[in-house]
Symmetry: C2
Subunit: 227 residues, 2 copies
């Protein structure tokens, strides 16, 4: 296989990284086959030969790219005949804003499901994850997740811009999805893959948009293995 993506994995091979999902969807949007290689947190450095400390990493016919936005740029440049991920230079620039906005949701999401993430990991990854995240937040994973209702409330309030936009059009990309949609999709697929705690409220227009995204590309996001 000429195209390989290193993809974060749980102990049961769950693929849950928001950034990896952005790249998976971008590859599917371009109609490109890829072998995804299950990569634990503590295996990234070794598996990528020291190239990157984070995933996704894409190997594509000799090119090697880390960072989901850089991967999207690479795909857009390398496969210009396939459906565009950005819809032009303006869409490419504005996707950076959508990325920044979506990433600003990661704090409350992480805190709401942080113990669930931990519980999905293999033993070595669990130790690494607990240690690094408890240091970052200055408290235990258990204490963080105990306040999950509060974190979810903050998260849901932050979705207001999407709710307003969805009155005007069904996707961030307009009538059809672009990479900007996959950015937010990855953000929301992340808790969905590791937790039964529903981050989106039933009846929220954002939940309906997310369902539409789960259907894309032959249900790529929906069919993914959850345990």
């Amino acid at each position: 296989m000429a195209r390989v993506m290193f993809d974060l994995c749980g102990a049961g091979d769950e693929r849950f990284s928001p950034y990896c999902w952005r790249s998976r969807m971008a590859l599917a949007h371009k109609g490109l086959d890829v072998e995804t290689r299950a990569t634990p947190f503590t295996g990234i450095g070794q598996m990528t030969g020291g190239f990157s400390r984070t995933v996704p990493v894409l190997e594509d016919h000799g090119a090697r790219i880390s960072d989901s936005f850089a991967i999207a740029l690479h795909l857009e440049e390398t496969y210009p005949e396939a459906p565009s991920l950005f819809g032009g230079a303006g869409g490419r620039a504005l996707s950076r804003f959508v990325e920044s906005w979506a990433n600003s949701l990661h704090g409350p999401i992480l805190k709401a499901v942080i113990l669930d993430i931990h519980d999905r990991l293999a033993p070595d990854d669990r130790a690494y994850f607990r240690d690094s995240r408890e240091k970052r937040f200055g408290t235990t994973l258990e204490a963080l997740q105990a306040d999950r209702e509060t974190h979810r409330e903050a998260f849901r309030a932050s979705l207001l811009p999407m709710r307003l936009m969805l009155k005007a059009q069904p996707f961030i990309g307009g009538e059809a999805p672009l990479f900007a949609d996959y950015i937010l999709f990855g953000t929301l697929q992340w808790p969905r893959m590791v937790s039964d705690f529903p981050m989106l409220a039933e009846g929220d227009a954002v939940a309906a948009w997310f369902e539409r995204c789960l259907d894309l590309h032959d249900g790529l996001g929906r069919m993914a293995l959850r345990r």
Copy 2:
């Protein structure tokens, strides 16, 4: 003059509407002359011959358009040779997201400067503004603005996506501004035009971006009359 824009005004002819500023900047971006017609809240219906209850309204060689986004779409379609406001179809679609995000900031901004807005208005507009806004919020303008520090704090926290994005590029449009920048510019020019209460913190990267926007188009935003 073949091109007229009805533009919200204060008693001293201050132009402060966030939506009107979006259109002013869009017209300047396209290099188009326009006569802006000072329009008080209570004069919109009569001055536009019942066409619209809100401004901006643009009259452009027989076409008549209300709503700042619709005006940008009109300008992009009518003047394709002039610099693009969207940078392609993707940028056009994603600008809707930026609009929704920027509009979600309007609540905290309005509450932080609502009495200052009131005080800039002509007598008839003051009565209309106080009555409609106090009904909407269920409290007095004075009570809302008394909590302005809290509203400003919420507003500043909401700017995090811009702060993150500005690490990657100087404008939402990338290396140069697009309509998406004017959307947020209008949002921030609104309190600047009516109040001495500084909404942006000194040293915030968003403040530096705003200063860059004030310099655009021969300082159109910076030169505007404030009292």
